[in-house]
């Protein structure tokens, strides 16, 4: 009887230990700036290095002078087979460019309808104090437009997989249509599966 009770206690302790070891997820904070190589897919390090390259290159361009040009951010086309949030890339670039104090961005590229709705609300509802009412037709036209694309080439051979990304950004003068600045960033990521295919 005593032996049975000892065995039961032992099993209970082992089960509790197993749950304690494998049952609970361990959560900890990590640095957003860490190099991320968890999988081969497009990741945070790729986003950060692309944004840094483009921002640095654009800030050094002679187009960005003292007159703080107004920029319209167009879409970055994702021509890869992966889902890539290109808005996140342009947001990171826009944030850094704006913080530099060298350029300004028009909100028309993101919330044009909202801006129009707000202007119409101020103009037509009669609820807004006429002294503070904003007038139609006074938005500042953008000087330049940022656009670009992401492409990739993926190759597999046996257990090896190679992904090559090419990201191209352009800055075009809206009035003349001339591309005033252009740069690209290349990223190569290679992975090899283990012998067991993991």
């Amino acid at each position: 009887m005593i032996q049975k009770s000892k065995i039961f206690t032992c099993i209970t302790i082992m089960v509790l230990f197993a749950f304690g070891t494998f049952g609970c997820a361990r959560v900890q904070y990590g640095s957003p700036g860490e190099v991320e190589t968890l999988t081969q897919e497009f990741g945070s390090t790729d986003l950060q290095t692309i944004a840094e390259k483009m921002v640095n290159s654009m800030l050094l361009s002679p187009v960005i002078g003292a007159d703080r040009p107004v920029i319209y951010v167009s879409q970055i086309k994702n021509k890869t087979a992966e889902h890539i949030d290109t808005k996140s890339i342009t947001d990171k670039i826009s944030t850094a460019m704006l913080k530099s104090g060298k350029v300004r961005f028009t909100a028309a590229s993101e919330i044009n309808k909202d801006l129009l709705d707000q202007l119409e609300y101020q103009e037509n509802t009669g609820l807004v104090d006429p002294r503070t009412r904003k007038k139609l037709g006074r938005q500042i036209g953008a000087d330049y437009m940022i656009y670009g694309e992401i492409t990739s080439i993926t190759k597999k051979a046996g257990r090896k997989r190679d992904v090559y990304y090419k990201i191209t950004f352009k800055l075009a003068d809206i009035e003349t249509g001339i591309i005033e600045w252009m740069d690209e960033k290349e990223i190569r990521k290679q992975a090899q599966k283990g012998i067991l295919g993991l």
Binding site: G33, E34, T45, Q48, T49, K99, K102
Partner: protein
């Protein structure tokens, strides 16, 4: 007694091998050195890995102003014939030593082939950023 002594010596060796090899403070208003060894650049470059410090040499640091922003180029030579990778990160500070944040600040991985010279280029995020520091570490 001998065992205790050996233990103390081993611990000492372990601690000294784990300690950062170079430490640096941003030197306010110091002129950039043009040439020199690793330690000559310790105010600007921090390499806190003994193996990297042995294999890498900072051969040149240049800075200039473009569009009112400081551009920095740090040239790193792989003294060994091995290919390996390391990470680097730029930090920027204003004239009073306060950190200025921008799009950088993250770790950027770099691959170097044997005896290759790599240029690490950084651009200040704002005109206020007048001093910089590059941290170099072994890739994880």
């Amino acid at each position: 007694m001998v065992k205790k002594l050996l233990c103390i010596i081993a611990c000492g060796v372990l601690i000294s091998s784990c300690a950062p090899v170079t430490s640096s403070n941003i030197g306010g208003g110091q002129a950039l050195p043009q040439k020199g060894g690793d330690y000559a650049y310790s105010n600007y470059v921090l390499i806190n890995n003994r193996a990297l410090l042995r294999d890498l040499q900072i051969t040149d640091i240049k800075s200039r102003m473009v569009n009112g922003l400081m551009q920095v180029q740090v040239q790193v030579l792989n003294k060994s014939s091995r290919n390996f990778s390391f990470d680097y990160s730029f930090s920027w500070f204003d004239a009073e030593g306060f950190q200025v944040f921008g799009v950088g600040g993250h770790w950027t991985p770099v691959q170097v082939t044997g005896n290759e010279v790599k240029s690490l280029i950084g651009v200040a995020p704002k005109p206020e950023a007048q001093q910089f520091r590059v941290k170099i570490r072994k890739s994880k």
